[in-house]
């Protein structure tokens, strides 16, 4: 059981990396990866929200949708849950920990529209993880997101100072960098079999 949880965690971070292997959450990946500090801030916020979202969506799916036979409504239900959850978390943090609120800043509401959150929730449901496994898989997926975005921000900081052909300046070279990162993460595929 314990080994399986560790494997789920590692699979989420490396093998099934949500950005580099499944291409979810690309929008924040490109949007807030200009500097390492902001990328790390976004990553931490994502870890926080995905873990909570995994718990909430698991409960909603198994306690509401399955008993009523409404499994086919999971997409809309999950979006609803995640949006409400992020709003609530924002309010809660604003009141209880202004310092954390300042640190997470604008990234928290941005995550509402991060499809990686929905992606993790849906994939947990489809694979059929239990509650604990869902949580661990969420942490792993978010950890993978953080790893990818921080590494990518580091690369982009270096790229800034390079002599890039005019046509490749800005996003084109960033996208090429992301593609190469994705290729390198291919090396992890098949490493863990669950």
């Amino acid at each position: 059981m314990f080994v399986r949880l560790i494997l789920i965690l590692l699979a989420g971070i490396f093998v099934n990396n949500y950005i580099l292997s499944q291409f979810l959450g690309i929008c924040p990946f490109l949007g807030v990866s200009k500097r390492v500090e902001t990328a790390a801030g976004m990553g931490i916020a994502v870890i926080f929200v995905i873990t909570l979202a995994c718990a909430a969506t698991y409960l909603v799916y198994n306690l509401i949708l399955v008993p009523l036979g409404l499994e086919y409504l999971y997409t809309i239900a999950f979006i609803l849950v995640i949006a409400a959850l992020v709003q609530f978390v924002e309010m809660f943090i604003k009141k209880s920990s202004p310092a954390l609120y300042q640190a997470l800043g604008v990234y928290l509401p941005l995550i509402t529209t991060n499809c990686a959150v929905l992606g993790v929730a849906v994939s947990n449901m489809q694979v059929g993880y239990n509650f604990i496994e869902s949580l661990v898989s969420g942490i792993g997926a978010a950890g993978g997101f953080t790893l990818a975005i921080v590494l990518f921000a580091g690369i982009r900081e270096r790229i800034e100072f390079n002599d890039i052909p005019k046509a490749f300046e800005g996003f084109p070279i960033a996208l090429i960098g992301a593609g190469l990162m994705s290729v390198s993460f291919l090396g992890f595929s098949g490493l863990i079999k669950l």
Binding site: L68, L70, L73, I76, A77, L80, Q87, M91, K94, S96
Partner: protein
């Protein structure tokens, strides 16, 4: 197809929406953070440039600090007396006038004055060049590199590079202090706007070395110190430093400086005017003597 399926679907999702909505509405009341109404009022009168010149993260941070009494009503150096008066009105305090400051660049090593060690052809970034051996291509390790990191950060267009050295336009400068941080050599400092005398050199090298590298560097001779009647200028670490609390802006030091490292804009403007007049007189005089 049974109608009941549709009803349960609508009811359950709709119900969830209502429950979440109600819950969030309730939570927003419980977790409401009281914001001082003064904060938003103060923020509306601040310039809104978010330059950080006050030392707080942006205008919102400054407004919060003022409302909490942690910062004075004239905390915003950009807005000056006008904004301070408005903020004072909101806070119910009268604003005390703060002396306007401007930034100035402590280097006069233009292309003609300063020697170069080598030719720099790298990235156009002062911080990058300053890491190279000898602190960049300029002969003087303290001098302005002229690649314009200060120009890039200035939100008010007050800085420019002239003859390879950064120059501040005092009319545009609002003393936000961004350039002070941007300069890797620490060449930019504040001085009171009404004091026109400034030491335009930062070299702490000994006189001989300064002369070898720059024709207008401070050699630490101390002539200014001896001539100052107000004890306002002193040579510290081979460099003349003006104490603006004592300086009366007479410009005597600028006139006596053998290397012209101290500049007084008032006197310079007068001299330029005189030279222009002399040139005009010469041009106006009949070309008789140049037969």
């Amino acid at each position: 197809m049974e109608i009941i399926n549709v009803v349960t679907a609508v009811a359950s999702i709709g119900g969830m929406g209502v429950v979440f909505g109600g819950f969030l509405g309730y939570a927003s009341k419980i977790f409401a953070v009281e914001v001082d109404p003064k904060v938003s009022k103060i923020q509306s009168v601040l310039p809104g440039a978010n330059c950080g010149g006050c030392g707080y993260p942006g205008c919102a941070g400054c407004a919060t600090a003022i409302a909490e009494g942690k910062a004075p009503v004239n905390a915003c150096p950009v807005g000056g007396a006008k904004v301070a008066a408005l903020v004072g009105e909101i806070m119910g305090v009268s604003a005390e006038e703060s002396e306007p400051q401007v930034a100035f660049v402590k280097c006069n090593g233009t292309c003609n004055n300063a020697k170069m060690k080598y030719e720099y052809k790298g990235i156009s970034d002062c911080a990058f060049e300053a890491q190279l051996s000898g602190g960049g291509a300029k002969g003087c390790a303290y001098g302005c590199l002229g690649l314009g990191n200060c120009v890039k950060v200035c939100a008010f267009g007050a800085l420019s590079i002239k003859d390879g050295v950064a120059v501040v336009d005092e009319e545009k400068c609002v003393a936000c202090g961004k350039c002070l941080e941007a300069c890797p050599k620490g060449l930019i400092q504040f001085k009171p706007k009404n004091k026109k005398t400034a030491v335009r050199c930062s070299s702490k090298d000994f006189g001989k070395e300064v002369i070898a590298n720059c024709s207008t560097g401070c050699i630490g001779c101390g002539i200014c110190e001896k001539n100052c009647k107000f004890d306002a200028i002193h040579v510290e670490n081979n460099l003349a430093v003006i104490d603006y609390t004592k300086c009366k802006d007479c410009g005597l030091c600028a006139m006596k400086c053998p290397k012209h490292a101290i500049k007084n804009e008032r006197i310079e403007a007068m001299a330029a005017k005189k030279a222009a007049e002399a040139a005009a007189a010469k041009a106006a005089a009949p070309a008789g003597d140049s037969k």
